[in-house]
């Protein structure tokens, strides 16, 4: 859509929760078969993505929970990895999760054919471990929350309207549903709404929010770069890493069945380790911490959406999402790619131009 999009304003005080009755209406209308969104779990202490067909289940729904458990991309992948099977799904998730889903669709792990992605302005989430321990149980997260994860605090795409339908909201802003394409418009219609409202207020808000975040991102990641540049500093940054590889498992992009670096954990024989230990005095075990993190950066930094799931899953408190953000900001801009933003653009490593990557800063390659 070239001209400014229009949206449907919803009269509600509830922010993203206002979506729930609309989704129920869309389900009842029958234009969609199911809704994928986070539900409160039976223990009432967490959230999980559920594919909902029965609208009664939506009573437990929270479209924008204060914590990120499984990312939406992974949830969608688990359902559609082997094809969507013609089930028309309205999938509600945060922009970073939706970007993850889009990246996964490029990697053949998500089938978006019959999926309508619904995204919304995201104020960020609180750290999963603190939430799980019960230290932090906010009922809702606001845009000014100081407890949100460090990676959310520097997210400049928290309001990226990458879905087919996007919900804009925030302090002093009435919720507004904005169709971003044909599919979104259809979904809006199924909810019984019309995109007649002006979106300029939302756009202004988002643009200033993003600008602020971009500046903070530059600043904080810049500080991190200074603090972790070079082998010595980097090793200090990774010191508490226990090589559990859980960052990789929580990552929505890491889609391999067995991580290459898990296979390689058994690569060194006892004698090899002994020889190395003798040569260097001692060897920390398990080995190849750096290999794992650098290798993973090579495998997926181009597709990293900075969702922070890795950092949430790290039992050792490594600021891994921030390190990845720092690296992937650079690698993605080197290939003029921003993960999950453009569904048409091909992933950089499976395509090429005959003339490229030359000049500018000399002969890098």
């Amino acid at each position: 859509m070239s001209e400014a999009p229009r949206g449907a304003t919803i009269q509600s005080e509830e922010g993203p929760r206002a979506l729930v009755p609309l989704l129920a209406r869309a389900l009842e209308k029958g234009t969609s078969d199911a809704v994928l969104l986070p539900l409160r779990t039976p223990g009432q202490d967490s959230y999980a993505f559920v594919l909902v067909k029965d609208p009664r289940l939506l009573r437990q729904a929270d479209p924008l929970p204060p914590v990120q458990t499984v990312t939406g991309g992974r949830a969608l992948s688990s359902l559609t990895r082997h094809g969507g099977g013609g089930v028309r799904i309205l999938a509600v998730m945060r922009p970073c999760e939706a970007r993850g889903a889009i990246e996964l669709s490029k990697l053949g792990q998500v089938d978006l054919k019959d999926v309508t992605l619904i995204t919304m302005d995201c104020p960020g989430t609180v750290p999963l471990q603190r939430f799980a321990r019960g230290d932090l149980r906010p009922s809702a997260v606001g845009f000014a929350d100081q407890d949100i994860r460090p990676i959310c605090q520097v997210c400049d795409l928290s309001c990226a309207a990458v879905g087919d339908l996007h919900l804009g909201w925030g302090e002093g802003l009435a919720p507004i549903l904005i169709p971003m394409d044909e599919r979104g418009a259809e979904a809006l219609l199924a909810m019984g709404l019309r995109a007649e409202g002006d979106t300029s207020e939302w756009r202004t808000t988002v643009s200033s929010r993003s600008q602020e975040r971009r500046e903070r991102r530059e600043e904080r990641l810049g500080q991190l770069r200074v603090a972790s540049s070079g082998l010595d500093n980097l090793m200090v940054r990774l010191d508490s890493c226990i090589n559990c590889h859980n960052c990789m498992r929580a990552c929505p992009i890491c889609y391999c069945r067995v991580c290459a670096f898990d296979i390689r954990r058994q690569e060194r024989s006892a004698n090899e380790v002994l020889d190395l230990a003798k040569a260097r005095g001692s060897m920390r075990l398990p080995m190849d911490t750096l290999m794992f993190h650098l290798g993973r950066m090579n495998h997926m930094s181009l597709n990293c959406v900075s969702c922070g799931a890795c950092e949430d899953a790290c039992p050792a408190g490594v600021p891994i999402a921030q390190l990845f953000a720092m690296v992937s900001d650079r690698t993605q801009s080197a290939f003029k790619y921003r993960a999950g933003m453009d569904r048409q653009q091909r992933s950089p490593l499976i395509t090429f131009l005959e003339k490229e990557l030359e000049g500018e800063d000399g002969q890098r390659c």
């Binding site: 889609y255 391999c256 069945r257 067995v258 290459a260 296979i263 499976i350």
Partner: protein
């Protein structure tokens, strides 16, 4: 079974031993894991050396062999044969190139010896991780399909057809030349188009469609002889080219006769404009100057009172006869002007020709008849055909050769060849030459009754690890990887795979590996290199 590796160091006369201290080298290698024998020899590639090596393999019961000698690019086949004679699978042999890449390039004897040791240890570590590979062969269909029944198609067909090889010739044109239809062993399919191609070298299935009917032809190879054509006036797009006295130079100058008859009496001006459409296509077609000169000569004979002129850019008349033709044209008094055609305009009975001179200024001339000498472009339908058969095309839409010098009639797809001007503008002579070359290459590679040797070191997919992301498929040049819709994993067609390993690097899951260059094998080499 435990590995028994034999390491044989060739002195290569003095070529290696001059620079590498063989006496010091041999003990450095003893005791490497799996190594049961290390020995040096004066010249392993000699007849005596080969026999010695084959005997050693047998006598020592070697399971793996390392030959430290010259470049595998020189003697790999030699020593693979030796393995076979010794009863060892030839892929269980690894060569360490200590001549070209060590002895000959290292001046310090000590350093050369150390480096040789590293290289040989790497070869040992690599070879013990090598599995025996079968020499794979596939039954091949000797029949050939030729797409296009023009000059190149006819030449190729006449060379290939025989009692043991059936040749199919397909052409969009329903009426094919008698030269073709009367050929023995040739089956013509006039008025047909290729709809789909399945399979691979030796076993293609080609689907042909004509109006209302379909048929399938099974062949071992395909030759693209779609030829080329002249660019049309519309395609050239010069302003005013619709003027009645502007004409494109036809294949046969005789076709110009009606225009000559219509020329005013007296001394009518006839202008040949070279390089028509050259800017549009972006290349010099290379064959048109000569064609134009021949037409001018014909015209000088047919209409002797006509004043001939020629607007040209560069004169391109390579070869034995070109210069003679050019001088001939100058001899008959044709006026040569340098200029780049910009526009044409019919003004009264004459056509005004505007052109840009070398210095950028605009010149004008007028003629009673303007003959545009057109650029050569791929034939109609070539683009669609290229997409159907899956070969690479260049920017101009011609079929791209596998290699312009080494493989001028091969394409990016093994078993699909290109002849004549389907791969670029050609004159008749080059067309025939390339057609003969294609026929010869097919005759050599696809001999009736012979099976085809396939690349042994191909890629393979581990289904349990494959996630179906199809990165490997995307980067494969040869279309050797298929996606199995039921299993939802990728699979390598080992008949097509050529073993470059690009897919391996594209797969993050290590679900795909290439035999003979597995991760472990390269890793072992790395370890030895950094030791």
């Amino acid at each position: 079974m435990n590995a028994r590796v034999g390491v044989y160091v060739c002195e290569c006369g003095n070529n290696i031993s001059d620079q590498v201290d063989i006496a010091a080298l041999v003990p450095m290698l003893e005791g490497a894991p799996g190594v049961v024998k290390v020995m040096s020899h004066r010249l392993l590639c000699s007849k005596e050396g080969q026999e010695f090596l084959a005997e050693e393999v047998r006598k020592e019961g070697l399971t793996h062999l390392v030959v430290a000698a010259c470049s595998p690019r020189q003697h790999l086949p030699t020593f693979m044969e030796v393995c076979k004679r010794g009863g060892l699978n030839p892929y269980l042999m690894q060569m360490a190139n200590i001549r070209e890449q060590c002895a000959w390039v290292t001046s310090d004897r000590h350093e050369a010896t150390e480096k040789a040791a590293r290289m040989i240890r790497a070869a040992i570590a690599r070879v013990v991780r090598q599995a025996p590979l079968p020499e794979r062969e596939v039954e091949a269909n000797p029949d050939v399909i030729i797409i296009g029944g023009g000059l190149s198609g006819t030449v190729t067909a006449s060379m290939l057809a025989g009692p043991e090889r059936r040749v199919h010739v397909v052409d969009r044109n329903p009426a094919l030349a008698v030269a073709l239809t009367s050929l023995k062993g040739v089956e013509t399919h006039g008025g047909c188009e290729v709809e789909a191609v399945r399979g691979f070298f030796g076993n293609f299935e080609v689907e042909l469609a004509s109006k209302g009917s379909r048929q399938e032809v099974r062949v071992g190879a395909m030759v693209v002889c779609t030829g080329s054509r002249a660019m049309t006036l519309q395609e050239m797009g010069y302003p005013g080219s619709e003027a009645p006295h502007v004409v494109v130079l036809p294949q046969d100058p005789e076709s110009l006769r009606p225009y000559l008859d219509a020329l005013p009496s007296g001394q009518p001006k006839v202008m040949f404009v070279h390089c028509a459409g050259r800017e549009r296509v972006g290349y010099c077609s290379g064959v048109c100057c000569l064609r134009s000169f021949k037409a001018m000569r014909w015209m000088a004979e047919t209409a002797p009172n006509a004043q001939l002129s020629c607007l040209h850019q560069d004169i391109c008349v390579p070869g034995r006869d070109g210069e003679r033709e050019y001088q001939g044209i100058l001899g008959i008094g044709a006026r040569m002007t340098w200029g780049r055609l910009t526009a044409l305009a019919q003004q009264g009975p004459q056509v005004t020709v505007s052109f840009r001179r070398e210095d950028g200024s605009i010149g004008q001339d007028a003629a009673d008849l303007v003959i545009l000498v057109p650029a050569t472009v791929p034939n109609h339908g070539a683009r669609a055909l290229i997409d159907i058969i899956g070969v690479e095309a260049g920017p101009a839409g011609f079929v791209e050769e596998a290699h312009p010098m080494l493989e001028p009639v091969s394409t990016s797809v093994k078993g699909i060849y290109v002849a004549g001007s389907a791969s670029g503008p050609r004159d008749g002579r080059a067309t025939s030459l390339l057609s003969l070359a294609a026929a010869a290459q097919i005759a050599a590679e696809l001999r009736p009754g012979k099976t085809l040797r396939l690349e042994a070191q191909t890629s393979q997919v581990c289904e349990a690890l494959c996630t179906g992301c199809r990165n490997c498929m995307t980067v494969c040049t040869y279309g050797a990887i298929e996606y199995d819709l039921v299993a939802q994993t990728c699979r390598v067609n080992e008949t097509i795979c050529r073993g470059c390993g690009n897919c391996v690097a594209a797969c993050p899951s290590e679900a795909i590996s290439v035999k003979g260059a597995t991760y472990q094998q390269i890793l072992q080499e790395i370890k030895e290199a950094v030791r």
